[in-house]
């Protein structure tokens, strides 16, 4: 009752001269804090350092306060529009008052926001945009208010300023939402149908560089960091100057140095913080639920095993099986255009060979330019001369099977040019030690199969030098189980 009886009072012109002076002084008195905010933001921007003090305590009230000026400001265009009709003309009398409240509220919120940004450990694009948006909004409020009743009647310019202000509210508010809820908080849970209709990309995972899913880091660690950490320590927001959205950034650490000490679980700040009680000052993720027992265990295993990004999923000895198997299989999407591009250099040669030798040369997968050659189905119809025809694509062949073909030692050089071979099968062929001694440069060879050939133990020292060799199938050869062999071959020979 009190308020409603005062509004008409306020609007009644009592003494124009006195009112103007009061308003003038009040108006410029309010400009001072606005300018202070501009200065603060310009001179002391958030720098990613966390300051646990009064500033941060006060700053935490920013989200609480900020919604009032937003509502006040958005009320202004409503009052103006509705007030155009004669029945509600009296509403326009409140505009002045509401704008004053918006200016005061906005400035307060901006000061609190600066306190939070400066002391809360924020830095990055989002916080900068959010802050300047807020500051600009304060100026717009103040400006509208100061324009006075007379100027506000200049329809188009005023309407444009209000529209600009409304747009600023939306933009700044969205940036603020991104800061507190994550960069894609509005579209994150959008139903797939609507997402397709609007063409919104599902970037829940795509925003993070994909790590190799066959590594422990890629399969187990990065998913945890992506789900629990990168909303504050990611590309858009890096609290404490720490980013956890890539392996390199994670290992670089934050403002206090590295947070992960390879092999030293207790010395790793990241591990210390995620294992603190949830109420502790240093606890992470701050203000959110603690990581699950399994997630903590995975990180512990990973740091303990050297925090590598190349360690294979199953590479941690004595780890519970649940931690060494990939959590869930992800299916690769196929991009036919990319495959065509990848194959551009060898495509015609491959097509020609596929016509000449049907069914024995195929790409490794739908999206790959790697080739598999299986000549074994042709038997003795395939020999050294036929193998020569594949010289143009030799560098792309990753698996070759010449079992039971007429291939001989004359092809040794041709096979040696297949530098990316991972699997080579020469079962029941006429090749001898000579061919094998040519294979020293096959740095990627993992599996070599000479079952049923005349290969002798003389090749073993050479085989021991192949860096990736995991299986050497030497059954039915002159190599016998139990014979002397280089140490590095132990466990790799299969009979």
């Amino acid at each position: 009752m009190n308020v409603s009886s005062r509004i008409p009072d306020n609007s009644q012109p009592s003494s124009n001269q006195g009112r103007f002076l009061v308003r003038f002084r009040l108006g410029f008195a309010l400009l001072a804090p606005v300018l202070v905010v501009v200065m603060l933001v310009a001179v002391f921007p958030p720098d990613g350092n966390e300051r646990a003090n009064w500033f941060q305590f006060i700053g935490r009230f920013h989200p609480l306060v900020v919604h009032f000026p937003i509502a006040f400001f958005l009320l202004v265009p409503i009052l103006e529009i509705v007030g155009r009709s004669g029945r509600f003309a009296h509403l326009r009398l409140s505009v002045d008052f509401v704008l004053a409240l918006a200016t005061i509220g906005g400035t307060t919120a901006a000061i609190l926001g600066w306190c939070l940004g400066r002391s809360g450990g924020y830095s990055g694009r989002l916080i900068t945009q959010h802050m300047w948006g807020g500051v600009a909004l304060c100026l717009v409020c103040w400006g509208c208010w100061r324009m006075g009743t007379r100027w506000r009647k200049l329809g188009a310019a005023y309407a444009m300023v209000l529209a600009l202000g409304t747009g600023l509210v939306a933009w700044t508010g969205y940036r603020g939402g991104q800061l507190s809820l994550g960069p894609n908080h509005l579209t994150e849970q959008m139903p797939t149908g609507l997402r397709n209709l609007l063409g919104v990309k599902d970037d829940r995972e795509a925003s993070v560089p994909i790590a190799d899913p066959n590594t422990f880091y890629g399969a187990r660690i990065q998913p945890i960091l992506s789900a629990r950490c990168i909303s504050c320590h990611g590309a858009d927001k890096h609290k404490g100057n720490l980013r956890l959205d890539s392996y390199r950034a994670s290992m670089r650490g934050g403002k206090d140095g590295p947070v992960i000490q390879a092999g030293n679980i207790q010395g790793s700040d990241l591990f210390r913080r995620i294992t603190l009680p949830a109420g502790h000052d240093d606890f992470m993720p701050k203000g959110k639920s603690p990581l699950s027992v399994d997630q903590v265990k995975a990180i512990e295993l990973w740091i303990g095993a050297g925090a590598s990004d190349t360690l294979a999923v199953g590479g941690i000895k004595n780890a519970p099986p649940a931690f060494t198997a990939p959590a869930e299989v992800k299916f690769e999407e196929i991009d036919p255009a990319a495959a065509v591009k990848l194959r551009a250099a060898i495509g015609p040669a491959v097509a020609q060979l596929q016509r000449q030798f049907p069914s024995i040369l195929e790409y490794d997968s739908r999206s790959s330019a790697d080739l598999r050659l299986n000549a074994s189905t042709l038997g003795s119809k395939f020999g050294d001369r036929e193998l020569d025809a594949f010289a143009a694509v030799a560098g792309h062949i990753i698996a070759a099977d010449f079992s039971r073909t007429a291939v001989t030692d004359h092809s040794a050089a041709a096979i040696a040019t297949m530098k990316r071979l991972r699997v080579l099968r020469l079962i029941d062929t006429g090749v001898t030690d000579e061919t094998l001694l040519h294979l020293g440069n096959l740095a990627e060879l993992e599996s070599l199969d000479v079952y049923g050939t005349q290969v002798t133990p003389a090749v073993l020292p050479m085989m021991a030098k192949l860096p990736r060799l995991a299986h050497f199938y030497a059954g039915q050869t002159r190599i016998r189980p139990g014979g002397s062999m280089p140490d590095s071959l132990s466990g790799k020979l299969v009979f």
């Binding site: 397709n196 199953g314 099986p321 649940a322 198997a325 990939p326 959590a327 869930e328 299989v329 299916f331 690769e332 999407e333 196929i334 036919p336 049907p358 069914s359 024995i360 195929e362 790409y363 490794d364 997968s365 739908r366 999206s367 790959s368 790697d370 299986n374 074994s376 189905t377 079992s403 039971r404 699997v423 099968r425 079962i427 599996s447 199969d449 079952y451 299986h471 199938y473 059954g475 299969v494 009979f495």
Partner: protein, 520 residues
């Protein structure tokens, strides 16, 4: 359609049976058979077809327009070479499959599931909680619990439990991955076998092998891509539907080969017919089939042409591949195979020979594992022993042989039945039976895999102390299928075929999970 086909044939005045059937003669005959009426009909009909063709391209929804998120995989091939190889969707660990199906469902409790608690309670009444709400094929009233009939021990470096019935497989245990928590929703043999082999308990669906050959083709064009071998005895209850191509083109169905005598019946030329004459005959038949295809456009006609051609090529290669007499005695000793008879051992040896020759999917069926205990043949302490003996040595030899030849790296071997067996002794009609046996248990059973990108020397999943129900990591049949397809390089959603308005797939419509825990 068949009416007009026969009408057309009757107008051809040349009797193909009598002449040598040269191609020119057939062509001349066809030309003579063409009348003015044919010309006018094809003229009018042809124009109409051209018009409809322009409409049709707008009417038929393409895969992309249907709102699918990514482009469907293209499995189209030249109709003349329907089995030509295609690359998998993504790089694959497994290049081929040898599936050893133990029809009748072997008892996991006598082979792989070590349950000392069940052994302790042997002979006691089954608790009521085991029976509430359950349906059994034969058990009635309150059956007795039945401990394992055979002792268990840990084997290999991996220390996995196995019974004393499988001494040869035991030697390969470090290459084996047991899934102890398999589950099915079928408790009769035929539908359960269909579910395991086609992903669906009803008739009419494409079998696993058909899907794989449809998706990947086969490396050896002189042999079928999907070969089925039965070890004599009884045909599986699911019948030939188990290797049917269902709605897929019939060229992808399994080809049943015999392990003795002619591998494929009527493959050899009859007496007095030379290979050259056969070639001439096939060329002529091809021409006629091509004309039929041009007239009616039925893709099955192309399938027929391709099958004739494959049969011709197979005359040489199939006979050679199936002829285990070419193997040395040491190999026969290893497998326990005897040329000239139908046995699981011979089939295992043939399976290895086919795997070497680039056959994509090799399906073996053994029989007689339905150990109810109703007679001696199906008693756990009599017939079951024989089954173990029949499969143990050849299976062990197959694994060892594949491993020493390096083929286990990219050959996925699967061994298992269609469901499990109960921890209760079967009491048909509520009476104690003369022989010891177990009833069907769809709730838990064991299947094992080896090679082809599977983690070696592990066991996945767990059942309760009785081996009755799964307590950890259940694996549905569709999960197993999705996992196997993953090893072969496919996302199980993407290996599909549009039929009856649905993108049909092996794993059917319920969500399936790739069992990541068993991947190497």
């Amino acid at each position: 359609m068949s009416d007009s086909a026969s009408a057309m044939r009757s107008r051809i005045p040349v009797d193909l049976e009598v002449t040598s059937g040269s191609r020119t003669e057939v062509k001349r005959a066809l030309l003579q058979a063409q009348t003015r009426r044919h010309f006018l009909r094809s003229l009018g009909g042809g124009l109409g077809t051209v018009f409809l063709g322009t409409l049709a391209s707008n009417l038929v929804p393409s895969a992309k327009a249907a709102g699918s998120e990514t482009a469907a995989l293209d499995f189209s091939r030249d109709p003349g070479t329907p089995l030509s190889p295609l690359p998998p969707q993504f790089p694959a660990k497994a290049r081929r499959v040898i599936y050893l199906h133990m029809a009748g469902a072997p008892s996991q409790l006598e082979l792989f599931e070590h349950k000392p608690e069940l052994k302790r309670l042997d002979g006691q009444d089954c608790p009521a909680s085991f029976l509430a709400g359950k349906r059994f094929a034969f058990i009635s009233g309150v059956p007795k619990l039945l401990g394992s009939q055979y002792p268990f021990h840990q084997a290999g470096q991996s220390g996995q439990w196995i019974s004393d019935r499988l001494p040869h497989i035991e030697k390969q245990v470090d290459d084996i991955c047991f899934i102890r928590s398999m589950r099915t929703d079928q408790f009769n043999h035929a539908p359960a076998q269909l579910l395991v082999q086609t992903g669906n308990p009803r008739l009419g669906y494409a079998s696993f092998g058909s899907w794989v050959v449809y998706g990947l083709g086969t490396e050896n064009q002189n042999l079928p891509g999907f070969i089925v071998l039965l070890s004599g005895g009884k045909t599986p209850d699911g019948g030939k539907q188990l290797w049917s191509s269902g709605f897929l083109p019939s060229v992808y169905q399994g080809v049943q080969c015999r392990s003795h005598g002619e591998p494929v019946l009527y493959l050899d030329n009859p007496q007095g017919v030379s290979r050259e004459l056969r070639r001439n005959m096939l060329d002529t038949i091809d021409d006629i089939n091509q004309q039929t295809y041009a007239a009616f456009g039925n893709p099955e006609t192309v399938t027929r042409i391709a099958q004739y051609e494959m049969a011709f090529r197979m005359q040489m290669d199939a006979t050679d591949a199936m002829d285990i007499r070419k193997e040395p005695d040491s190999v026969h000793a290893q497998y326990g195979s005897k040329p000239g008879e139908a046995s699981f051992a011979n089939n295992c040896l043939v399976a290895r020979r086919l795997a070497e020759r680039g056959v994509r999917f090799i399906q073996l069926y053994h029989w007689g594992w339905d150990s109810h205990g109703a007679d001696a043949k199906e008693a756990l302490n009599i017939g079951f022993n024989d089954r173990c003996r029949e499969v143990d040595q050849p299976t062990g030899a197959l694994l060892a042989d594949l491993r020493s030849r390096g083929l286990l790296e990219d050959t996925l071997v699967v061994w298992g039945g269609e469901f499990g067996r109960t921890p209760m002794r079967e009491n048909r009609g509520g009476q104690e039976m003369k022989y010891v046996g177990r009833d069907h248990n769809p709730g838990a059973f064991t299947i094992w895999l080896a090679g082809g990108g599977v983690r070696a020397g592990i066991a996945h999943g767990e059942t309760d102390d009785m081996g009755y129900e799964i307590v950890k990591d259940p694996v549905e049949i569709r999960d197993l299928h999705a996992t196997m397809l993953y090893l072969l390089g496919f996302d199980h959603h993407k290996l599909n075929f549009r039929f009856q308005g649905l993108e049909q797939k092996l794993t059917s419509v319920k969500p399936a999970r790739v069992v990541a825990e068993i991947l190497a």
